[in-house]
């Protein structure tokens, strides 16, 4: 069964992205793995290699009812997905605060802005104002390309899109011109810190 978040993206249980048991598709290539799975494995690799401490935040859930069966764990029997007011990933790298959101698109030529919402863009503005490093990681799944783009560009396109009749996506050409291609390898799978080293340090 596939669960869906409020944004329409399918829910993946933590177990499914376990690095201990890579599927054969994972073993021999990146196709078939979601960006989120790849980033989870990457972040775990960074922690184990003592290179950075970056985690995906848990999905925010509104709990309505919990049962307390005798002699077993508390069971949540009614709860709902909540909209995140921040980005999904944050942590510390080389003494700096790192914050990013990751998105995957099937479109070949643009990333639709409906992948984001106001609170997230505002959150990234704040992060940058307070001296943090903020960016988005975007996977164009058709071509299996992954890019890092500074949050300032998201901000510019987001703000422009609020105008009547304005474009509602970020063109792929911007990723080619202003973004940075992230190398994909066996380990770490999505080596975004290599790009962060070049761009922010």
């Amino acid at each position: 069964m596939i669960f869906h978040y409020p944004n329409g993206q399918p829910y993946k249980a933590a177990e499914e992205s376990s690095p201990q048991k890579p599927s054969s598709s994972a073993r021999y290539g990146h196709r078939g793995m979601t960006l989120e799975e790849d980033l989870n494995v990457t972040n775990r690799y960074y922690i184990e290699a003592d290179r950075a401490v970056i985690y995906k935040k848990p999905t925010p859930i509104q709990i309505v009812h919990v049962d307390y069966p005798k002699r077993s764990a508390a069971k949540i029997t009614e709860a709902y997905f909540r909209k995140a007011s921040t980005t999904d990933y944050n942590g510390v790298y080389r003494g700096k605060y790192i914050d990013f959101e990751a998105k995957e698109t099937k479109y070949a030529h643009a990333l639709p802005l409906k992948n984001f919402h106001d609170h997230q863009v505002e959150h990234m503005r704040r992060i940058k104002r307070h001296g943090g490093i903020g960016f988005i990681i975007v996977k164009f799944s058709k071509t299996d390309e992954v890019y890092l783009l500074d949050a300032d560009y998201l901000d510019v396109y987001w703000t422009a899109s609020r105008e009547k009749g304005a474009r509602q996506s970020i063109p792929k050409s911007l990723f080619l011109e202003k973004g940075f291609r992230i190398p994909q390898k066996y380990l770490p799978r999505i080596d975004y810190l290599q790009v962060v080293d070049d761009v922010y340090f």
Copy 2:
């Protein structure tokens, strides 16, 4: 109804700690408010005053079953609380990565170490190694005193406690000697950044 986390602490719905509708006890004093509620209001204040961007992470939940009723929101019908592998709070302040765990104790003379677990102590070690600021905020509820204590001291006591027959708590005297009392006021309620300013900058 009061829910309980796996660590035995009661679950509080986000709504209950809403700053828009302070209860009369909240309006006239701190007693009656949990440390978590006070910190949520404090962090919201810091964000609104544009002083820092620090959030409590969502509670990690293991989702087992979700229903998709027609024309209404996805409903989680079976889920369980998971143990957090990191601390509860993190964010950015004055360009620095900030990370902390908050604990409340009814004991007058010590903080029992069972309030923490291995993963959290290890997480804080990593944070400090990578140049982040890491500490614990502890409320002694009997006397309504709140202290900030650097994570290094937790590490020292935690490590010592692993020895056979060793002490399993941090004495309050350590908070008095090596910790810093956090001023409690109307707004921000638990002004821990004032202490962070003095101690880490």
